[in-house]
Amino acid sequence: MYWNKPVETMEREALEKLQLERLQHTVRRVYQCVPFYRERMQAAGVEPGDIQSLSDIRKLPTTEKTDLRDNYPFGLFAAPQEEIVRIHASSGTTGKPIVAGYTAHDVSVWSEVVARCLGCAHISRDDTVQVSYGYGLFTGGLGLHYGVERMGAKAVPTSAGNTQRQLMLMEDLGSTAIACTPSYALMIGEALRDENFDLTRLKLKTGIFGAEPWTEKMRDEIQKLLNIKALDIYGLTETIGPGVAMECMEAQNGLHVWEDHFIIEIIDPDTGDEVPDGEMGELVITTISKEGMPTIRYRTHDLTAIIPEPCACGRTHRRIQRLRGRTDDMLIIRGVNVFPSQVEAAIVGIPGIAPRYLLVVDRVNNMDVLEVQVELAPELLSDEVRKLEELQRQVARAIEQVIGLGVNLRLMNPGSIERSEGKSRRVVDKRVL
């Protein structure tokens, strides 16, 4: 089911012509309005007029998350403040988040691409979509919500958490679809199984899951537990939020990237060279219709490959493979992006502890659990349990404020956190997906 058939099935030639026009427009816009991009382009010896074909995009410098951080909060905005109607935020690599600004047009484009994603999942106006992504600065909740409303379907903004209430509403309101992280879907499914819940009481038939990596094995599990079709959605705050790409019901294999709004490249993360279609590399995204905060050749650090073959669903927008991992040390915990360097920034300077730490991520009952081990300074701050527990809470709070996730904090003796080759290992991920 198409939401926007003319665009979704557009001939490649016309689609690429549209991409080039929009790319040229976007490059002119950032060159004029964003000093950062202008300086970068000047340093690379490229001007907007040099973009004559789609392959000329490779003349443009790439953009990193650190560039967003360095220009926090508004440095990369390409629209005047009075045109910005929405701000979202995501994890930065240090203490500050990165923010994204949206004009009314951007929110409208976002709603459009999410509505197309819903179409991919065969969701229509007759459906009731329970949006169990978090609402707030995180793009998941509001992103899906606006897409559902754009389609004219019914949105139930339950947000994340409180599984029992989710189930009650799912049954009472007759939700036919749910959008959340795959691990939360698993948790709901297992709650149903543990209660011997009669699935015929639910009208649920589809799930749209994203914001964290998952596997075919998890898909099978979720589909079985909830008796639904489970589909993968992809996106990131830096480029818009969820809705950059989506699997279709027909193929359940690879995610269609809405190429009239996003140009994708797959590069070798080390050399920056383009890799051939079908080969794994780092996904680079250029937004070509955004006004508030366009991103030029944004390095997602997500690993995937382009699937060049046409899709059974008839959409002409190319697919990327299910995301395979990261080229950096970013962790995705309960759908939240976490960088070890954020933890470092949070704890540095707290008296009584050394800035040496280890993140241990595990999945307990389908719920990601983050333990942070932090080494104490050699001089014990106090021999009173109360005061050390206070220190433990203080450190936990400092980390939680930066990463936006609850942590189990464990104080450790100096030198007890393993080191390899003189460098400390900062992450142990015990999760088996």
């Binding site: 349990v385 050390l388 104080l411 003796n413």
Partner: protein, 146 residues
């Protein structure tokens, strides 16, 4: 008159305490008094040892977070109610007790209780005024055969 207590942070893991006591034993550090305060994640071991400064350096060199704290070694009659006079003196003088624990061996006819208080100097004067005996580090070491 106060006594130096060594306080050591011990991770709450199986074998952690054994490893620690082995370290002391192999280096001739004798534990005259010992107490352990614990939470779900960690414990704080507090001890009176024969050579506190040496012990502190040793445990720090072996990767432990530790410090020395002034505590009072209070000798009390080893009989029912023996501790009450000492506590009464401190309460009257408005001294707060953070924690206390007892020495492994008696000194003479008396039991020895280690007090950690908020105001050690005032507490020492109060106890002296109430004729409660305070022991020096040396007295404890001697009673323990050093």
């Amino acid at each position: 008159m106060s006594v130096k207590q060594i306080s050591v942070f011990i991770e709450n893991r199986q074998g952690a305490l054994e490893k620690f006591t082995r370290l002391l034993g192999e280096n001739g550090i004798d534990l005259n008094a010992l107490s352990m305060a614990d939470t779900t994640n960690f414990g704080i071991l507090r001890a009176i040892v024969n050579e506190p400064a040496k012990a502190l350096q040793l445990v720090k060199d072996h990767g432990y977070t530790a410090n020395l704290t002034d505590v009072l070694a209070v000798a009390v009659p080893d009989s029912p109610g023996g501790l009450t006079d000492a506590l009464e003196a401190l309460t009257r003088g408005n001294v707060s007790i953070e924690y206390l624990y007892s020495l492994v061996r008696r000194v003479g006819e008396k039991a020895v209780i280690i007090f950690r208080v908020d105001k050690p100097d005032e507490a020492a004067a109060l106890l002296a005024g109430a004729h409660v005996e305070l022991l020096s580090h040396q007295a404890i070491a001697q009673a323990n055969g050093h």
